[in-house]
Symmetry: C2
Subunit: 118 residues, 2 copies
DNA sequence: CAGGATCCCTAGGGATACTG
DNA sequence: CAGTATCCCTAGGGATCCTG
């Protein structure tokens, strides 16, 4: 089991915990958002998220894969090529991801103000 | 500015980053979800999230407050009483929170299976 | 009751080097 | 290109004690 992650699933708790467990990682929501537009190669995702190291990106992608929301397709070529895409389960997250993009767009200004205040 | 948090807001990036910045903390989504039902006292939230220490809860609540999604009402009584509630801005997150609860409910079983596999 | 302040530790994650 | 493997460090967070 992933450490600290949903360790008490015997007790129901709140269903939201499940969703947070899947998309709650540091970069996961952003990765999934970018994948909504279609499959992306590792390097593309890396360039879209310059703040995330390749190491972290790999780890987050592995967990998303384990949770069944993204698919990893390896093309055995030289040089190697790997494409990540949303699974059907991942597609079912679209409504959430789209609402999050909407909300962010509407509140970007006040968030920037909040950050400057600190 | 909060460390590591949206440090490059000069460059637009993805709007979703804003939303993740606000609700992306370890316990924030859960806190907000519980507050949807109405105001809650600190102790109540703490009991709803036994895994979170009081210290962490306080920190997360402060950030949610700074971001303007929750309101902190202090009743000057003995013993002290503090109630947290969603602001109007926080209420606007409801559609997202409700979708997340839905998604979690539908995928709780497969998530448990994924966890057992590890 | 609802935190604030300190001390302290570990595991999350960066940097670098290497490989199929 | 798309990772994996190591080393290494720091800051995130637990535990404890204190207070308005």
């Amino acid at each position: 089991m992933r450490k600290g992650d949903f360790e008490h699933y015997e007790e129901p708790g709140c269903p939201t915990e499940v969703t947070v467990g899947v998309i709650g990682g540091k970069w996961k929501t952003l990765i999934l958002t970018y994948l909504m537009a279609g499959p992306r190669r590792f390097g593309e995702i890396s360039r879209l998220l310059p703040q995330a190291s390749k190491r972290m990106l790999t780890l987050q992608l592995r967990e998303l894969e384990e949770d069944g929301v993204i698919h990893r397709e390896v093309y055995r070529e030289v040089p190697p090529k790997v494409e990540y895409s949303l699974t059907e389960c991942g597609e079912s997250l679209k409504p959430i991801l789209l609402l999050m993009a909407d909300w962010g767009e509407k509140h970007v200004d006040s968030k920037i103000e909040a950050l400057k205040r600190r």
